[in-house]
Amino acid sequence: MDYLLAAFAWLADSSHWTGRSGIPNRLLQHLAVTSVVVSIAAVIALPIGILIGHTHRGSGVVGAIVGAARSIPTLGLLTLFGLGLGIGLRAPILALVVLAMPSLLAGAYAGIETVKPEVTDAARAIGLSEWQIVSRVEIPLSAPVIIGGIRSATLQVVSTATLAAYIADAGLGRFLFTGLKTRDYAQMVGGAIMVITLALILELILAGIQRLARRISHPQLLTTTMKRN
């Protein structure tokens, strides 16, 4: 408990809130890395997942990738890329992109996959082109599941961005590694509190957005789930 109190004292110290390695700057770096990584991964993985869901081809591959990705140790990917690309942000960003893709792929694929064939057939029957079916029927209907994928990918990246500080001078993880090296446990626990708080806030925001998307794309589901309770 002493460490916890010391950590809060460390967090409250105004000198830790200024400068290049101050808390606000580290927080910004952390968020910047997270958003860059999730954006790159989304641009690559979402179209592929949507394509697989729409054509129903290669669904087994998605399952295999998602399962296999879980067993890859994050730290291993990070250190391997670090050895290959050297110290700096390139290696962690690349490693994090690889880690974020399975959740995004699975979310996009599973979302599109669950749109009923009657619905897409009806859309086809009234003369929508395949592109229109994807963009105006399947994506809106599966938005909550796709956002669910973005939510888990973001959470994974914001957590793992902590480890990026192991090979780059960036992010809130710096406080943990500096604290560890200098035996400054207050700084270490303070940094840990910051990362956990950030992750939980992001989780709550994204869960809220997902709920909102569900309400917009499936207004009728709301009443049925309410009845079941």
């Binding site: 879980r70 890859i72 730290l75 291993g76 250190t79 560890l180």
Partner: protein, 215 residues
């Protein structure tokens, strides 16, 4: 391969350490998550907040959690107890929803028939509900096994010896073969334990074919 042939004794030792952290955590996760899942499924007023809490718990980043646990529980920073507590928290968070789904998957008619032929509450759980939930529970255990094995490596950043040590040590000394050995062996360990769970499931629930377990 050359690196591995020169260091295999060290590597085996690390693998044993890895398992000594992972297996207690996996076992504890299952022992805690199954009754919690049962409770969540039977009492929705308790289940809903419980499952939301599990989702939130799983969102907590691992390295910071490993740093926080010792200062909250008064454990030393480098202790297997810290690792096992953290891994168990994640394992329970991952599995409790699957456990609830497992008990919810049981056919209501079967449940009522079991009551009708005179099962007591206790034997209803042990002889009817638990065995019938095994296929779904096993799919949850598989996820816990694979993610726990991978997660153990994070402890190496704080000096907790496991296959993760090969990752940190290899990175610091610039030995690619060492890091690769760590990555590959961690995956191999996860795949082997996963196979063991599938095997156990097929023994315990021979009435389902493995391909349909997830349904």
């Amino acid at each position: 391969m050359k690196w591995l042939s020169q260091n295999w004794e060290h590597v085996i030792g690390l693998m044993v350490n890895h398992l000594l952290l992972a297996i207690p955590a996996i076992v504890m996760s299952v022992i805690i998550a199954v009754p919690l899942g049962r409770l969540a499924q039977q009492k929705p007023w308790l289940g809903k907040p419980l499952l939301s809490f599990a989702t939130l718990m799983y969102a907590v980043p691992s390295l910071p959690l490993l740093v926080i646990i010792p200062s909250v529980l008064g454990l030393p920073l480098r202790s297997s107890a810290t690792m096992i507590v953290a891994l168990t928290l994640y394992g329970v968070a991952l599995m409790v929803r699957t456990a609830a789904d497992g008990f919810a998957s049981i056919d209501q008619g079967t449940h009522e028939a079991a009551i009708a032929i005179g099962h007591s509450r206790r034997s209803l759980f042990w002889k009817v509900n638990l065995p019938l939930a095994i296929p779904v529970l096993a799919s949850g255990v598989r996820v816990v096994v694979v993610s726990t094995i991978a997660l153990v490596t994070i402890g190496a950043l704080l000096g907790q010896s496991s296959l993760g040590t090969l990752l940190t040590d290899g990175f610091q000394r610039g030995i690619v073969a060492e890091v690769l050995t760590g990555v590959v062996l961690t995956i191999v360990l996860a795949v082997l334990l996963d196979l063991l769970v599938v095997l156990a499931k097929n023994l315990l629930a021979p009435w389902v074919r493995s391909g349909r377990a997830a349904v």
